[in-house]
Amino acid sequence: MDRSFWKAGHTPTLFSAFLYFDLSFMVWVLLGPLAVQIAADLQLTPAQKGLMVATPVLAGALLRVVMGVLVDHLQPKKAGLVGQVIVMAALLAAWLFGISSYQQALLLGIGLGFAGASFAVALPLASRWYPPQHQGAAMGIAGAGNSGTVFAALFAPTLAVWYGWNSVFGLALIPLAIAFVVYAIFAKDAPDSPPPKTLQQYAAVLKDKDAWWFMFFYSVTFGGFVGLAQSLTIYFNDQYGLSAVVAGYFTAACVFAGSVMRPLGGFIADRIGGIRTLLIMYTLAALFIFGVSFAPESRWIALVVFMAAMLSLGAGNGAVFQLVPQRFRKEIGVMTGMVGMAGGIGGFYLASSLGYAKQLTGSYQIGFMVFAGLAILALLGLHGVKTRWRTTWGSSAVTSAKI
């Protein structure tokens, strides 16, 4: 990265956006690592467990659209402030009043969904400051906030053992409050913002078949990533009898693998082609998930296979977002929202389906197998469209659009 990058945009905004995004993602997946302890106290069935961890994912996906509208009408900074206040209020309420029922846990999940929707705020906030040639780097730095998911899996179970899981919500408020203050002081809206997106624009994009394909592809890769991030703690605890803390560490390793691989996936796609990368990644992901559905004897083998699956899913995420901005050069703002939402829905599906599979059949296998089937479906779909995509997409110029 050259020096001109730091002169080009607004560095304080970039870093407060990163911090906001990072911590938001941390609390977004907070319920996953805590699920073991919460479920034990609330005596939840496997299906309820699955739905509880899946709720923030779904809420995040849907609220992303709401936040997108807020960004258009309030400017990103205010929208971000609103989002953070809601998340903190939800956590504060959970901490002060406690969570004593399944319904309350779901309600908290919806509140945490606002944290998941931070994606729709942090990226435009940062990227609008940067000229086209620096957009990639700016989005990369802000988008690195994905790593927040690792912190949740790493620390939450341990803190829950030390202080009780309810206090974790209170403890999470500390970094959130710091990020809030930093954000309130340092983040600034870019002087020029693109015009608000209209409903017609969404409708117009959805007329394009390619848009649906991308939504499907991302719902498999990102859905797999976030769905596993939410469910693995439960799975490791349930299947291998690991304590919540160790299961959290295992999950953190997997999530870390997936989020590190994302930018690398974009890089690979740039070199060897996005379609080719996705073909490889879907094949690998399907193989690994199918393999792990048989629940290998050793927890270590399971960990390695899950990490491999997360690596391919993470690379797939990167590959999808190498293609989307270039294919939808003009409609990029609308498309990111739609594709992101599809990813969230995929995550909701995976997390909840694992719970139901356990409840109905007594094992997780069928849930994993269906998801591996989805990956194979994506593979076949990609095979179907690849010739058309390769021959009719034309140019390789860079995008200059703003989100």
Binding site: I272, Q322, L323, W389, R390, T391, G394, S395
Partner: protein, 564 residues
């Protein structure tokens, strides 16, 4: 709106017996003005005896008429050079053949105003000045010997030598600019100061400037013929070529996809031939003449997209100028009410369709296709047009066994003085490596596509692997086609490897060179490309590799010391 200017001119013989100056201008209208521009020329004939006037008049008259006969797609300086070169030879030939005219020569200063730019061509000691704001600038350099006694002896002029070296320059025109072309009969007696004063005094009235300059020059004791030509720029045209191409009408593509049997102005749609994200191509029949035609238009969704609409008009404009049987010809459609254009239709199929059907291309057949492809491409390049999307899909083999190059959709000409609309269009696998690193399209990149096309016909593979959209691959040396087709003769392989080389310098320079190589075939084979060692190709990588290797070796040795 077109370019607007006013012209003033004046000339006087002065104390001499003959006026050997000559000036002339062509101020065309409408499309010619935007394509070729307006041309102004001043010449000052010199001679030992007679003939100075003849040289000057011949040069200017020849230039004025011949410049407008050059293809519209040529760049202005290239067109001027192509016209002036033979004029020079003609003057030289006349001078040496005809005793009366011996030693005749002429200076020449040309100004072309086209679009928002001006282009100058100059040789000799006539001058071109520009008044912008209140500043006057001399835009030319006198080609005379810089010695006090030889100030009037020309170093360069039309008719002096078998080869004439013109000075060319260009710049952006601004509204209010006044250009002045004068012979030495004016600038010598008046000097820059006198000219500047006159220009400022009468800047709104070019004719008065011209007359005043001539009058003052003679009044100041000028001993030579005095000629002045003044052009005042009043209004610049819009940047948008599309406005002019549309003949002032706002044509829109048909609002709906047409079904067979529907009527579009004079045509009845027969079938849809091809459909892409942006364009629709129909086969149609003319209602009265029964002539079959191909109609190309835009997808209805692009109705409100001015860029695409202008793109189609530009495409038609270009296609109209390519008159060669390697291309479908544009048919006139005077009655059109919507945005489309019609071309001749030829029965047959594209090479891609042949590939899909499983057609086996023999080496001989492919060489034949290559020869025809390069003849067509050569014709295009001579018109200064780049096709930018040569691939089997765009090559059509008619039932009359003629090869036609289709789809000028992304073709560009730099002669129009416009930047291409899409910077990097084309099909990734056929794009030359330099285009991925922000290179500009060139003849070399078109020839690369032609090479990949032949390669693909033979092997069904690509010399650098299949490249996807938005991919930024690393290019190495092309894979030898004999890896996939061991039966290929060595001479053809060498030609293909040369055509698909990564480095543009290593490829064929022109379509004609490529064509010649294919025609000569094994009689005079192209040498195989030299293997470039890593040390030369990427010295940094080599040293990095050596350093890494040595580091690993040393770490291993340390490890061995520690454990033993």
């Amino acid at each position: 709106m077109p370019l607007k200017f006013t012209l003033g001119q004046a000339t006087e013989t002065g104390p001499r017996t003959r006026n050997e100056d000559f000036c002339g201008a062509v101020t065309p209208a409408a499309e010619t003005l935007s394509a070729k521009g307006a041309l102004f020329a001043v010449a000052d004939g010199v001679s030992g005896g007679a003939g100075g006037r003849e040289a000057a008049e011949l040069t200017v008259r020849g230039l004025l008429s011949d410049y407008y006969a050059t293809p519209d797609t040529w760049e202005v300086t290239a067109a001027l050079d192509k016209v002036i070169e033979p004029l020079n030879r003609w003057v030289v030939a006349q001078g040496s053949a005809n005793r009366d005219l011996a030693g005749m020569a002429s200076t020449l200063s040309v100004l072309v105003l086209r679009g928002t730019r001006y282009i100058l061509g100059h040789v000799g000691d006539t001058r071109i000045y520009r008044l912008r704001g209140n500043d006057m600038t001399l835009l030319t350099v006198d080609h005379v010997w810089d010695r006090p006694d030889m100030r009037h002896v020309l170093k360069r002029a039309i008719g002096l030598d078998a080869h004439v070296a013109m000075d060319y320059s260009e710049g952006a025109t601004e509204t209010g600019d006044v250009f002045l072309l004068v012979s030495d009969g004016i600038w010598e007696p008046l000097g820059d100061l006198g000219i500047h004063q006159t220009l400022l005094l009468h800047r709104e009235f070019p004719q008065r400037i011209a007359e005043e300059l001539v009058r003052k020059a003679l009044a100041a004791g000028g001993q030579d013929n005095a000629t002045a030509m003044v052009v005042g720029v009043e209004e610049l045209p819009g940047e948008d070529l599309g406005d002019l191409l549309a003949e002032g009408r706002q044509l829109r593509p048909p609002p709906r996809k047409m079904a067979p049997g529907m009527i579009l102005d004079d045509f009845e749609i027969v079938e849809i031939l091809h459909e892409s994200r942006a364009t629709l191509v129909y086969l149609a029949r003319h209602l009265t003449t029964e002539q079959q035609a191909v109609i190309k238009t835009l997808q209805p969704i692009l109705t409100d997209d001015p860029v695409s609409c202008n793109g189609l008009l530009q495409e038609e404009w270009l296609a109209k100028r390519v008159v060669a049987h390697y291309f479908p010809q544009v048919l006139p459609c005077p009655a059109r009410s919507m945005l489309y254009y019609a071309m001749t239709w030829h029965k047959g199929e594209s090479l891609e369709q042949k590939l899909t059907r499983g057609h086996y291309f023999t080496a001989v057949e492919t060489a034949g296709i290559g020869i025809r492809l390069l003849k067509g491409l050569g014709a295009l390049h001579r018109l200064n047009i780049l096709h930018r999307d040569i691939k089997p899909d765009n090559l059509h083999l008619g039932d009359d066994d003629r090869l036609r190059i289709l789809d000028m959709g992304v073709a560009v000409t730099f002669g129009m003085g416009h930047e291409p609309l899409t910077t990097n269009a084309g099909t990734p696998s056929y794009l030359a490596p330099e285009l991925f690193s922000n290179g500009t399209p060139s003849v070399a990149s078109d020839l690369y596509s032609a090479g990949v096309t032949l390669y693909h016909l033979l092997t069904r593979h690509y010399p650098h692997g299949e490249i996807e959209p938005f991919q930024h691959p690393r290019f190495g040396d092309p894979i030898p086609p004999t890896r996939y087709r061991p039966d290929l003769p060595g001479w053809l392989e060498n030609i293909l490897l040369k055509a698909c080389a990564r480095d543009p310098e290593a490829r064929f320079e022109t379509a004609e060179e490529f064509l010649l190589a294919l025609e000569r075939g094994e009689h005079q084979p192209v040498l195989p490309p030299p293997r470039m060692p890593l040390a030369q190709r990427n010295p940094l990588l080599l040293w990095q590799a050596i350093a890494a290797l040595s580091l690993i070796t040393n770490l291993l040795l340390i490890f061995l010391i520690v454990v033993s």
